[in-house]
């Protein structure tokens, strides 16, 4: 019997419109790409080029300092400017703008491909750092740092192919089309960091991908395990996927390493193996362009830095005016106000929701104590109690309700029949706790 995590919700998947569509190249290449200096969660990189320089695909244009990851040109052309541009995380930030010359000339200075049997930890870390890889599932934590910390301490490497967000199918297609390379990458990483187990976790709605992986596993007698679990949001959350695979719970305030696990996103693993065995930096990624407002929803192989509007153009444009445009899935994604914002390393989808899909119908009403938020919280919190304590200003109750454990999956807000923005309340409570030091 497989262990599972508590709670969770089952949002309507809406994956049918893109799950059968192969990852395709952009029909209309971008005229320019915008590479923000802030691409990982750990600080900005420093520009290594000047306006007017000519760059080739894969050439580093910004160097990482400390933990920050470096950035590479995703098209060949001329550096136009280094200026403030809209950033998908909101607001504007400094970015390197490159004009496309349409040649896609590869960079001469890229490293030699490695043989899979000869990859050592140092080599792996060096290549990953060189390729500028950051977590591609959304959090954008520098992967090299994650692997460095995990080396020798983790006994389980978990490849997260759950993709539990509705609408998004980029990882599904990547797993289906590139399963061989992903398995090789997973095996290599696990050996390099000294993990005994490498587990690839996928959900029941990606059975064709799971079958493809299983066929490959049979052939290669590899050490990677496949774990297919019932579709439920938020399986893809780090703590929940660890709990599902190993039954271990990450202690409060702890990290996955505390329970000897390291979780890598599927796209990250693919990028790592690209860097190791083909010597390529992270310049492209798979992005799902979907939603009811998109004319031709599809999966695209996109140069990082491509403006969102260019993605929409390749997906047939907008069929109707969207009610909301998001990068990432609708549960945890970020709303976009400006379609000139670029695709960054952690962008896995562009979702344009119609008003009908968004179901943004009703006003907040009173809590009827149905308890659905409590039974759906995967972190064992009681959001209705936290919200009540805030409403009644009973702040002394907050420390016992542990709002700081929240992973912001949004299950409580999603399930609430009274439409109370519970996630917002929990976040508010956490900020109060951190600020006021109530305990």
């Amino acid at each position: 019997m497989r262990r599972s995590f508590f709670g969770g919700v089952n949002p309507a998947p809406y994956k049918e419109s893109t799950r059968r569509k192969p990852i395709a190249r952009l029909e209309y290449a971008p005229e320019q790409v915008v590479l923000p200096l802030a691409m990982s969660s750990e600080g900005d990189s420093v520009p290594a080029v000047k306006p007017g320089d000519r760059v080739a695909v894969g050439q580093p244009v910004a160097a990482g300092v400390d933990l920050a990851v470096s950035t590479h040109a995703s098209i060949s052309g001329r550096v136009l400017a280094i200026e403030e541009r809209p950033h998908p995380w909101g607001g504007r930030s400094a970015a390197i703008v490159i004009e496309n010359d349409g040649q896609d000339t590869p960079w001469d200075g890229r490293p030699q491909p490695l043989d899979s049997t000869r990859v050592t930890l140092d080599l792996l870390l060096a290549r990953v750092r060189e390729a500028g890889i950051a977590g591609m599932g959304g959090a954008a934590y520098p992967t090299a740092e994650k692997l460095r910390r995990a080396a020798g301490k983790a006994d389980t490497l978990i490849i997260n192919a759950a993709e539990c967000e509705p609408y998004v199918t980029a990882d599904h297609r990547l797993l289906l089309e590139r399963s061989d390379k992903i398995l090789l990458g997973a095996q290599t990483i696990a050996r390099a960091i000294g993990a005994q187990r490498a587990v690839l976790v996928t959900e029941g709605d990606k059975l064709n991908a799971a079958e493809a992986v299983e066929r490959r596993l049979r052939k290669r007698s590899g050490k990677v395990e496949l774990c297919t679990v019932r579709t439920r949001y938020p399986l893809g959350a780090e703590k929940q996927i660890i709990q599902t695979v190993t039954g271990r719970e990450v202690p409060p305030g702890g990290a996955p390493l505390d329970v000897k696990c390291v979780v890598l996103n599927l796209a990250t693993v693919f990028a790592i193996q690209d860097a190791l065995f083909r010597g390529r930096a992270l310049t492209h990624r798979a992005v799902t362009v979907t939603g009811g407002a998109v004319a031709r929803p599809r999966n695209l192989w996109v140069p990082i830095g491509t403006p969102l509007s260019c993605l929409l153009q390749s997906a047939g444009g907008l069929r109707e005016t969207p009610c909301l445009v998001l990068t990432g899935g609708p549960m945890m994604g970020t709303p976009q106000h400006n379609l000139e914002a670029p695709v960054i390393k952690s962008t896995n989808a562009l979702v344009c929701l119609t008003a009908l899909e968004r179901r943004q119908q009703s006003q907040e009403t009173v809590c009827i104590r149905c308890g659905k938020c409590v039974t759906s919280c995967p972190m064992h919190l009681a959001p209705s109690f936290i919200s009540r304590a805030l409403r009644l200003n009973e702040l002394h109750r907050l420390p016992k309700l542990h709002p700081q454990d929240c992973i912001e999956c949004g299950c409580c807000s999603y399930i609430c029949p009274a439409r109370i923005p519970l996630l917002e309340r929990v976040r508010q409570a956490r900020e109060l706790l951190e600020k006021g030091g109530l305990d």
Binding site: F6, V9, P11, P166, K239, E249, V250, P251, P252, G254, P322, L324, V325, L326, P330, M331, M332, G333, T334, P335, H337, N338, L339, L353, E357, R358, R359, Q360, Q361, S362, T365, V366, C367, I368, R369, C370, G371, V374, T375, C377, P378, M379, H380, L381, A382, S384, F385, H402, D405, G410, S413, Y414, I415, P417, A418, R419, P421, L423, E424, R427
Partner: protein, 551 residues
């Protein structure tokens, strides 16, 4: 892209269920039960339900309107309260009964505490249990399958399965009858199957979680299996306990009311088990046959405690940390229980000063507060006493009517009867019957005799010539369809005109009814006893003694 707007935090989508849709699902789930009730009791049920729902909605609207609060009738919670209240009424309840119940439920239990989501007791159930404190309103159960007229309902009493269970015997019903509803009871409890159907619908629609009903019914079932009467098969006893009374309605519709049940999963399980324990306790150890309502209301009051006890374990905290946390929580909970000193001050004169302007103000304010309190108190007392008085009158009227009918059956020539000062051993009561002209016609004696399976109580009329004028059986425990054959009008009319000592055979005899010998003998014995009592009354006019020699 001006139209692209987003202000909310994630998630950006919501599921379609709203409070309103949950409430309408409950209404949908009640439709089969209501349909079955209409099938059994006739269209009167529909009118009763409509009045109940209508009055609930009206009270909710009126209260919110008068207190200048937002209009909440659109969330349908008042409709659900009204429907559930109607489901827990007997079919022959007077039309004002649900109005009183919903007034109490909606205004006092729900709105006084702040409306939907803030009340601590289930309003429908609280209204129903208030009605249950008035003796006559809620104890008349109608036999199914005879449709009631819309107006003017007789109080025909039919035993409910619970009254059998309360006495420690199985109700004389087959499993199919219990499931489909050939039995007396409230609208919502006659058909177990339909309630189950509605409950399954609610669970499948995710309106309720199955935790509370399963724990409730499971506890009841296990307790019934363990503590069953010696003479009864435990499995049959458990089935009868589960299917009879308002248990299913309570478990699926009343105990699962989101507002008044715990929020946490573990709390919900404890809630269900607690309801089961209390219901079994009340069913077996209280003077009333039913305990579901009181059990759920009692557990409603414990919800805050269960919520604390059932709080989910912190993610990532070890098992022993959980135990430690529980112990600490328990200590804190106990520490938090303290008595709040009532905040009432009666300082009319402070510091012995002469009352100045400030003091006058203070006194006025206090007098005003006291006045408000007094008005509320007086109103509440008036309402409760008024209703009790009203229903007591009803009781008296029903009693008088019953006596009159009995007299007509036992002594047709008498116009009215009155209590006599005579007492005689063996006679439960002796009444004198008088004709229109106020002349003594005879005596009605209430006697008892041992029948086949218990005492048979009967009223025997004897005229001044010492001849029987009529016999009526008022209470018995004989088998329906067998022993009752000796109680038909035809069988009883054979005693009319007899005098002296009636024998079982030979001269001056009344033959036993075939198959009901013991009951026949009991009735004959009772008639003989009555004849003897009257004979001694006539000779001595007072201190009568009767020797039990004949039977």
């Amino acid at each position: 892209m001006d139209s692209i707007r987003s202000l909310r935090l994630p998630p950006q989508v919501g599921q379609p269920t709203t409070t309103r849709s949950m409430m309408s699902d409950v209404l949908v789930a009640l439709i089969p039960t209501l349909a079955m009730a209409v099938f059994f009791f006739g269209p009167r049920v529909l009118l009763l339900t409509a009045i109940s729902i209508g009055s609930s909605v009206l009270f909710e609207y009126a209260y919110r309107r008068f207190t200048h609060q937002s209009d909440t009738i659109r969330d349908l919670s008042a409709c659900v309260t009204g429907a559930l209240l109607a489901m827990s009424l007997p079919a022959n309840a007077a039309y004002w009964v649900p109005v009183l119940g919903s007034a109490f439920g909606i205004i006092i239990v729900k709105q006084f505490y702040g409306g939907l989501g803030k009340n601590f007791m289930n309003p429908a159930l609280a209204g129903r249990m208030l009605l249950a404190t008035f003796p006559i309103l809620m104890t008349n159960w109608t036999q199914p399958m005879d449709w009631l007229p819309l107006w003017g309902v007789d109080a025909v009493t039919s035993p409910t399965p619970l009254s059998y269970l309360h006495d420690g015997s199985l109700p004389p019903l087959s499993l199919g009858q219990m499931l489909l509803g050939q039995r007396g009871g409230c609208l919502g409890e006659v058909s177990a199957f339909m309630v189950l159907l509605g409950g399954c619908y609610l669970i499948l629609r995710r309106v309720i979680s199955p935790r509370i009903p399963l724990c409730y019914l499971g506890t009841m079932g296990v307790l019934a299996l363990i503590f069953h009467p010696q003479t009864v098969d435990p499995l049959q006893w458990a089935t009868a306990q589960l299917l009879s009374g308002g248990l299913l309605l309570g478990a699926f519709f009343l105990a699962t009311d989101p507002t008044t049940s715990p929020v946490t999963p573990r709390g919900q399980m404890m809630f269900g088990v607690g309801c089961g324990l209390l219901t079994m306790l009340l069913r077996t150890h209280s003077p009333y046959p039913e305990g579901v309502g009181w059990a759920i209301l009692t557990m409603n009051c414990c919800v805050w405690l269960l919520d604390r006890a059932g709080m989910p374990r912190r993610f990532g905290a070890g098992r022993f940390a959980v135990l430690r946390q529980w112990a600490q929580q328990a200590r804190e909970n106990v520490a938090e229980i303290h008595f709040v000193k009532p905040n009432i001050h009666f300082h009319f004169f402070q510091g012995g000063k002469m009352p100045g302007e400030e003091h006058l103000d203070q006194i006025r304010a206090q007098a005003k507060n006291l006045g408000h309190f007094g008005v509320v108190l007086v109103c509440a007392v008036l309402v409760i006493f008024g209703v009790h008085r009203f229903t007591d009158l009803d009781t008296a009227r029903a009693e008088a009517k019953y006596q009159q009918e009995l007299l007509a059956q036992v002594m047709p020539q008498a116009a009215f009867s009155s209590e006599t000062p005579y007492r005689a051993p063996g006679a439960l009561s002796i009444q004198a019957g008088y004709s229109q002209n106020n002349e003594l016609v005879g005596y009605c004696i209430e006697v008892q005799a041992q029948g086949f399976s218990g005492m048979v109580t009967m009223e025997v009329g004897v005229d001044l010539n010492g001849q029987v004028t009529g016999v009526a059986v008022t209470d018995h425990k004989e088998t329906i369809g067998v022993g009752t054959n000796a109680m038909t009008e035809e069988a009883l009319s054979r005693y009319i005109g007899k005098s002296g000592t009636i024998r079982l055979s030979g001269s001056n005899s009344v033959d036993a009814v075939a198959g009901a010998t013991a009951t026949s003998e009991a009735i004959t014995a009772g008639v003989n006893r009555a004849l003897a009592i009257v004979a001694s009354l006539n000779t001595e006019g007072g201190d009568v003694s009767y020797v039990d020699g004949e039977v």
